[in-house]
Amino acid sequence: MTETHGRMTIVAAPGAPAGTFTIGGSIDETADLHQLPGRAAAGRLALDLAGVAFINSLGVRDWIRMQAVAQASGLVVELHRVSEPLVHQLNMIVATRGNATVTSFYAPYACDACGREETVLIDAIAHHDRLMRLDPPLFPCAECGASMAFNDFPERYFSFLAP
């Protein structure tokens, strides 16, 4: 069942472990995101963030409050499929990172052969060592099959992964 909080949606993913939620839409002054830690289960809160299309400064404040409540409650917070707008905020404002673990995130890629640009999901655990070396994995271009390369400054885009 989809809950609507202003312009943000929350879905308790069917079949997923309790405390797992899919967040979508816009995180802004209407979101009430800081209520989520109260719905964690077995000390764990897992968020699928692929559908977050927008977050503004008030959404960032709500996000930081959510992280603070989770941290104070001793929760393990997992962030899955973190969308690009959220990655930008994780990079710009250190406090947004809290104690959360990012398991996967989206990143901009471009094909040098045909010019296609795409947002690609990166498994942060499988590629941990490469990402720490600022050497992101290559992916095949869906259009021409050539190799797509990461399309941003690694030291800037992956700074949120720094321990």
Partner: protein, 314 residues
Amino acid sequence: MPPAILIVHPDRKTQRIVQRILGSTGFAVEVTGDPVTATALLATLEPVLVVVDGALLGPDAAALFATAHARGVEACVTLRADDAGTQVPSVLDSGAITNLLVHPMPVLGEELTITALKLIRGDLFGAEKYLLWGTPLEAVTLTRASERASIVAALAAAVKARGQAARVAQMAQLVADELLSNAVHNAPVDAAGVHYRADVARDVEIELDAPHQVELRWGCDARYLAIEVRDRFGSLGRDTILGALGKQAVRETGSGAGMGIALAYRSCDHLVFNLAPGTRTEIIALIDVRHPPTERGAASSYNIFVDRPRQGAS
């Protein structure tokens, strides 16, 4: 004799190039290689603008900026993009530099010329100055506070519909949202200087009468996507801006998060403030749509222009 521009750059070849760029506009251009000489020259040349290369930043340059500020001379720092990531924080911390141009090549022509022209002519307002001639600007007026979300979502959709990358649309949405929110809630000020809407919750509906309405204009010339937001109060000050650009921490209390200007600055390539105290504030965000992120600078440019009555103006 036209007003003078003083260029302070350590490299003689670059001095000549910048001298040609700015000299071609008809202004008298003087050059020197160090800030100490430049400080001495301020007394005799009385320039309108002093342009200082970022490689010279330090105590002598700080003294130059202080002298320029005291004499009402605008100062502009130019930084090479390669150095900007490390130098911009100290530029922002100084709180004294009102114009910073970050550029990918040794010399930046267009932005420097626009900066000089705006200052010398005293003609500050309008995003048109940053776009190719004839570029149309879409305009919308915010008449209710709640329209902000739909307007910025429509802007992002329109940018995408014109073939721009999702990244550009996301940046445009964030920049427009923060600037509109500031204009609706932080700009209104009464005769006593009280910002009477600053503590109104951002999700509370407010009908905006004519003085409180906010104008958004945007356009793209395939070089820049320009987003312009204008209020009719002119309450945003130079020192407030300089304190806000480098902010890292979100405000815990109050209705605003206190990060709007900082997020807008970091989400665009160039943020321009045109200030007419007591009359209007116009902020223009420029997002470079030509280059992939890897070819953009590690930091962004900014200008703070203050409208001043011209000498001899009636």
